[in-house]
Symmetry: D2
Subunit: 344 residues, 4 copies
């Protein structure tokens, strides 16, 4: 089969690879019909996260099950399904607590050995471990593009909002309007946030945030602090979402939050950094962190998508054949698109 | 001042009454500009709930503060405000737990001695005890009609949804599409319910439920059980709201709920009745009951109204001068309207 | 193997039965070393719950795994384990929400066809479906008697307290001091309840409740209402536990609870009955009902037992050889014991 | 009246000061019978937190109300009461959410202008603003020493445990066994923690932790990481409490916590510091921070003290007359005592 493989920083290739075969009793194989290029693929593409040469990329996919082990019972051969970006066993301590994102067997598609050595989904076929939890049927009437987001980007945006414990009527700030931040804006609105202040410095993203129900505020040309103050009688935001993963953003989140507020740190951190713990402490903030529990949220996300309450499809900038993945990656790296969908 | 008073079952009158005066340090007086006739007023009108002759009716109001005691600090003379239907002291055991609806000094406007002897708001002026908690400023840009609902009908619909612990994506059933049930439909949707099955037998109410984002199902001419089954793969609803207050409705709610589901009993019960505790128990249901905690919810409701996420104004059937209250009550008793607003 | 079988109301027999064999990949077989007779066995014994003649009784057990299917990974052959009274698949909608007690494959040991047709544990061996969830290793140092309670009676008492949402310092009422009620008294205390008012009319049970940290109050010779009033400045209990399953008890629970309080209905209901919904509603009570989620609680219960915070062993009245089961049942039916342990 | 005043770093004095008078309608004056010296007094004593010369120290007190303004209704002249270390108005946004520790009028006794300019309680009398919330009656039978802890040190230890969301059976780590840490150990146990690993390097404190139900582990001479691993099958602690307020302690807390665990940061932070956000994020930790909500917890703490579930009195090293405050401060600064009580 053909697959998009990482070769070296800045270089991906479409090459022939052996088709996957079932390895475990709860594995499934999906014939991919659409696979997204995601912001986290760029970290691999640029070599910021090391990846073995030849490894298949991609962790967002929609397709049809063509084979399944005997323990696959929740989905079946012939089902049109979407995948979550990460797997979960359903049996460990964490899965039994619904903390599927901390599953001891959790593996991320297309991220190489360090995240479980699971080949990616930008290919004609993909092997899906723990298919009962990792896959979901595409609900009737839901578009392929929307489904592609449920198990990754929208699942993460939704998680950001839920982990921030946003209550109806709350004022929420989303810092960073990449696809995850934009999905967080929409999700916050869809569960009743009174106002969602969306901060970035890219006009197109600010415009999309507004389309998604947010109040766009340019990071430097406008006044995020003033906007929050105005929206909250000077009190500060009930919840702030760091959708970037940078100490300056976390710092700004802490400054914009009200006393007793919550910061959801959805952006990835991998190192030590300076945190103004004095500010955090005096404001009695709560910090919620970590990878999104998309498996825990995907059914709710799909229900809301089906109901029309969530619709990330405006983020899809273009659809391209799998064969054009190298150009698509290059374009994505130039930030010419919010989401590119590869069609094998 | 002129005021709408109860005289005898089926008879209200607009008569001259002495203007209220401040009695306590946290009292305020509001010059009423709009006051609603509510379903619970009908219980009084029909004599089902006894009321002293001459008592002023009405517990929904918007107006301007004309006088305030020295302890009124959260609002001020000149503020345009809306009232909650019930007062709360803010200091007792219950208020400190945010269970404002169980305040030991809770008094309901316009319901006579048994509920605190507090004269009603269908009048040119109304005395408001514990004004700091009972009143809220009308947010800029919010219509008078919308504001009128925040502290009563929408507050109650919203409470029904919140006490039912509706989560994003859930399937919710609302039984009974009076104004409270309709507001519950809209509120469930606004906080992300995946589907809201709205059951009644009055076509106009079913149509309004659909307009409010619900899936209308006629109680007898259609098949509520089938609709729930279809929406939930046969599992039953995550939450059911009894917005009527009748044992048959409660029974239906228990039948439509899934195992482990929640029933929010918002409709009023005042007596013993048969409950299928066997069914309740085997399904492991949770029943949440009681008057709505509107004071606890009113800020969220106002924020969502201001954001356009909640809009009950389509429920307002007509505006009439205070002087025409007798005709308005008669029309409302004939169910010719979902909400009538009196304009003093 | 020898096993205790139901024959007819009032008649059990120890007879030879074929040893169980593994049927499913996640089955295990346990060689039983101790098995309890429980209050719910009496319902079967007396014929109040119908059971097929010849069915093996018993749903509390401790023993050693002698065989296990290939999918049994959380425990292993040779492990000393305790069982929960009910099984759970770990994969269905309910299990994934941690509502293990509502598992669509839930089967109760020793209760005949209507509860899943799973032979009981008052036998030399017992077949355990879904062994990964249904069994737990007996922690080092924990007595067999204590372990026997973890998956049934203490699990249920603990569930009663947790589902009642008891907070530290709360005043809790437990109505009915059978083994479950007594465990609820102890569990409430162990999680910090300020006072646990324990109500029954049997002096020995009241004495045991006191030993377990409760304040014993005789149902008729003392004044439960007065005791609650005194403990709560007249306000009523924060939480009441109906550990009986009788409308009069539920009614008393509702009367003893404070406004906004919670009633945990742990006693079994199987039919319609009168409930004072007027009282429930005016007090804004929450009712939590249903079978205990012992699988969800068993790890916490074991940790607390190991820590010495929970110790139900004083409830064990006697140990008898399996062969003497008929006499043991008769004695238990005469209420001569709180817990009898059969030793195969 | 006589009072303990700060003069200069390392110097306190007992001097004559004017007796307080009522200033606001909800003020009370308490004739102090016992007042504690607390670890946070040392920060002032050493000059680490600047304080005006002549300011009266002390924020823990028990005494009798001798005067009260007209709005003081929850307590009365003649009542024996204990105080919380901080005041709360009961009316602001935060108080209405029960976030009393973030009250916009919150003032800390005996901490000088920066924390509200409220004179301290190490004196014969103390003025108590917002007496309805700041004071509580000493429950009958509760010792003065115990009562002294309810509104400060035990309230803070209890808060640490509650904000860490400790569930029954959990494994909890407390880092730093000063009085707050020790109270956290006891509180964790009293609400059902399965094991409380108590870490410090002072043998006496470790011994006290053991007496309070903890598992003492010497920070350097023993192996905290190994102890946690052993207690949790290698998984890590469910919750860790940083009762010190130092980046190294926070770092250790993050290392000892399991994936998805909670860190309660009760120790005070006032500046920027390095935090291993990479570790925090990859483990998906939750950080809860800030001053304790003692007013929110004091009723539960008192109920548990009265029930004998919490008893901090072993922490009281000695009682001394107010006149000997200078020597007492010096001794406390030499860490010769966990708690010294001054008796005016």
């Amino acid at each position: 089969m053909r697959a998009v493989t990482f070769q070296a920083p800045g270089e991906v290739r479409v090459e022939e690879r052996p088709a996957p075969i079932l390895l475990a009793a709860d594995d499934a194989i999906v014939r991919v019909e659409a696979s997204g290029i995601c912001g986290s693929d760029l970290h691999l593409y640029h070599g910021r996260i090391p990846l073995e040469a030849g490894f298949i990329l991609g962790h967002e996919f929609v397709g049809t099950i063509t084979a399944a082990g005997p323990d696959v019972t929740d989905v079946a051969v012939g089902d049109r399904v979407l995948g979550c970006f990460v797997t979960a066993c359903g049996r460990c301590f964490f899965c039994r607590r619904r903390d599927f994102h901390k599953c001891i067997e959790g593996r991320v598609f297309g991220h190489g050995k360090t995240l479980g050595g699971l080949q990616g989904a930008q290919a004609e076929q993909v092997l899906v471990p723990h298919a009962n939890l990792t896959l979901r049927r595409v609900p009737p009437g839901l578009s392929t593009d929307a489904a592609l987001f449920a198990g990754d980007v929208m699942g993460t945006g939704f998680h950001a909002v839920r982990s921030a414990e946003v209550a109806p009527g709350d004022v929420v700030v989303v810092l960073g309007l990449g696809p995850v931040g934009l999905c967080a804006v929409q999700a916050a609105r869809a569960i009743g946030a009174g106002q969602v202040i969306a901060v970035d410095s890219v006009p197109e993203r600010l415009a999309m945030a507004e389309r998604f129900g947010g109040t766009p505020v340019h990071l430097t040309e406008q006044d995020p602090k003033g906007a929050v103050r105005k929206a909250t009688s000077g009190r500060g935001a009930d919840a702030c979402i760091d959708a970037v993963g940078h100490p300056d953003v976390l710092d700004l989140a802490c400054r914009l939050a009200r006393n007793g507020g919550t910061i959801s740190v959805t952006g990835v951190y991998s190192e030590r950094c300076q945190v103004h713990m004095g500010l955090v402490w005096i404001k009695a903030l709560t910090l919620k962190t970590g990878q999104a529990n998309v498996i825990g949220h995907v059914d709710a996300v799909l229900a809301m998508m089906t109901a029309g309450l969530l619709d990330p499809t405006p983020l899809v900038s273009r659809h391209v054949p799998l064969a054009e993945a190298p150009e698509a990656y290059a374009a994505y790296a130039r930030r010419e698109a919010l989401k590119i969908v590869l069609m094998p």
